[in-house]
Amino acid sequence: MTPVLRLLARRLGISLIVLIGVSMLVFGIARVIPGDPARIALGPNASTEQIAKLRASLHLDESIFVQYGHFIKDLSRGDLGISLYTNRPVTTDIAQFLPATLELVLVAGVLMIAIGLPLGIWSARFRGRFADHIIRLVSLLGVSAPSFVWAVILMLLFAYYLPLFPIAGRITDTYTIESITGFLLIDTLIAGNFQAFLNAAWHIVLPAFALALSGIGQAARLTRANMIETWDKPYIEMAQAYGYAPARIANRFAFKPSMIPSLTIIGLDFAAMLGNAFLVEAVFAWPGLSRYGVAVILRKDLNAIIGTVLIISAAFLIVNLIIDLLIAFLNPRIRYSQRDVK
């Protein structure tokens, strides 16, 4: 399996370069900020000495390259600085808020795969028929609205008019669950509190669906398009000529090759949820990174902005890395160099 290891090493290398690039980009953006971040952070009543002190501690008086050097040095020690908004290390803040966001995104991602792919397969298999038209229409509608619109619509329909699901939050306040992983769905199970688990699951349904809807639509559309392209390949006609059941041809002989081009884009869609989570969290008062992110942005809290964007980008790169490995697993052309069996 050396080609896979080589691929992994290559991808890791590229990811690292890209991550450094991202840090430079974000750092650059944060430094073109109009106005003095120290003054904004301390408020209009701060004294000149206070501002000067903060400027010194943030290295704001030195050149941008020196500032970046300091930043990288701190970063390599796992130090993203102090948030001017919460007065805590940015890493602590992120550690507190990130799990809720990741939990939401992961559940939405599972929904996207579990619903989007089968819809796409069905749509391709029954191309041009009624089921296909309906699935295409619904999936196009799914991608035609931002997730906050779906969040509002789902909330109105299934929390207010039909009070099936809670309006906000991650779990009912009466449960106290010790935070181990930060993922409530896991922590409740570790605590052995099945009731609390169901409660948390009940809370996550609407936000996860709101977040997943456009991803489901996108995954279905993509799967359909690639399945249809694969359908014209000679090996599918060969499978038909050998009389395999249509469902088997679709689910196996056509699906696996067609997933290879789909996966990259599904990975990107999955990653886009990391951004869209901000919108859904705002609607459902989900205690994730969104509220923190928007708050620090409005307060021009540079350390926290940089930290948040970097962490999200790192998560994004990890997702892509996993997708690349998955593609290598599905695609033997990547696993084996060509023509090594003579």
Binding site: I14, I17, V18, L19, G21, V22, L25, V26, I29, A30, V32, I33, P34, L137, L140, L141, V143, S144, A145, P146, F148, V149, V152, I153, M155, L156, Y160, Y161, L222, A225, E229, I265, L268, A271, A272, M273, L274, G275, N276, F278, L279, A282, V283, G293, V294, V296, I297, L298, K300, I305, T308, V309, I312, S313, F316, L317, N320
Partner: protein
């Protein structure tokens, strides 16, 4: 073009898309004549008709300070469309040029340009725009800038992939053999082959730009009040659910209708131009 017409008119969905987009464009362009209360696009207060459910006077109700929601949605369409056109008008040429040269030239410029593209693509789209808006002042111009910054890499990637495969095609080799300049090959030979994919993507992207821009203003990071914007209207109204449902439902549906229209046309174009993704 016979086939084009057949595809367009045989499929009721493409017709619907054409209809929706025409509707949105007409509303946006002729907002001054169509809006029942054109002055409500600005900071107007009407304490007689505030927070009213839809009536014959205000077919989509009124907002919290008594402005006609329908009028504001029409003006918000105008802002959205301007934003979409400007963003694509800047982002597409940048992305196309980067992608063409990276894909055709290869070597060092390919590595540098595509890694640069990867950097931008490695920040989830909305997050980059959010971060930029956080640093910049939230104005329409800056919103355009932020969305443009996250948009060009997609075109760079798209064109790069086409250009890289076209590089090996016979007609490019033939052009090289007869001594055509790089400039000629890139713009006269390779670019025309990318056009169907670019045009299809642009149509679909009109919708996505509207989505992203409204998302920014939903978070309070885009166009600022009193300028009407679909995203900030939904955000404002969400606090008054479920009683004042019209405050969120109509602006939300307005986004859906516009984006749906562009997506339907994009799909039809994809079929006509035979471009995939």
């Amino acid at each position: 073009m016979n086939r084009t017409m057949v595809i367009l008119f045989r499929n009721p969905l493409s017709l619907l898309g054409l209809l929706l987009v025409t509707l949105v464009v007409v509303l946006a362009v002729f907002a001054d004549f169509i809006a029942p209360f054109p002055e409500h696009r600005g900071a107007v207060v009407d304490f007689v008709y505030f927070n009213k459910a839809p009536t014959a006077r205000n077919i989509m109700g009124t907002d919290l300070v008594g402005r006609d929601l329908f009028s504001r949605i029409i003006y918000a369409y105008r802002i959205s469309l301007i934003l979409g056109v400007v963003v694509l008008a800047i982002a597409v040429p940048i992305g196309v040029i980067v992608g063409l040269f990276a894909g055709y030239l290869g070597g060092k410029s390919e590595f540098v340009l595509m890694r640069l593209t990867d950097v931008f693509l490695s920040i989830p789209p909305l997050v980059l725009a959010i971060a930029m808006m956080g640093v910049l002042e939230p104005t329409l111009l800056n919103a355009m800038l932020a969305v443009t910054a996250m948009w060009w890499p997609w075109y760079a990637r798209l064109v790069y992939n086409v250009a890289r495969s076209e590089r090996e095609e016979g007609y490019v080799l033939a052009a090289e053999v007869i001594g055509a300049s790089k400039y000629h090959i890139v713009f006269r030979e390779i670019l025309p082959n990318c056009l169907p994919a670019i045009i299809t993507k642009m149509t679909l992207d009109m919708g996505f730009v509207i989505i992203i821009a409204s998302s920014l203003s939903f978070l309070g990071l885009g166009v600022q009040p009193p300028t009407p914007d679909l995203g900030s209207m939904v955000a404002e109204g969400a606090r008054y659910l479920p009683d004042s449902w019209w405050l969120t439902v109509f602006p939300g549906l307005a986004i859906l209708i516009a984006v749906f229209g562009f997506n339907l046309i994009g799909d039809a174009l994809r079929e006509i131009l035979g471009a995939e993704q």
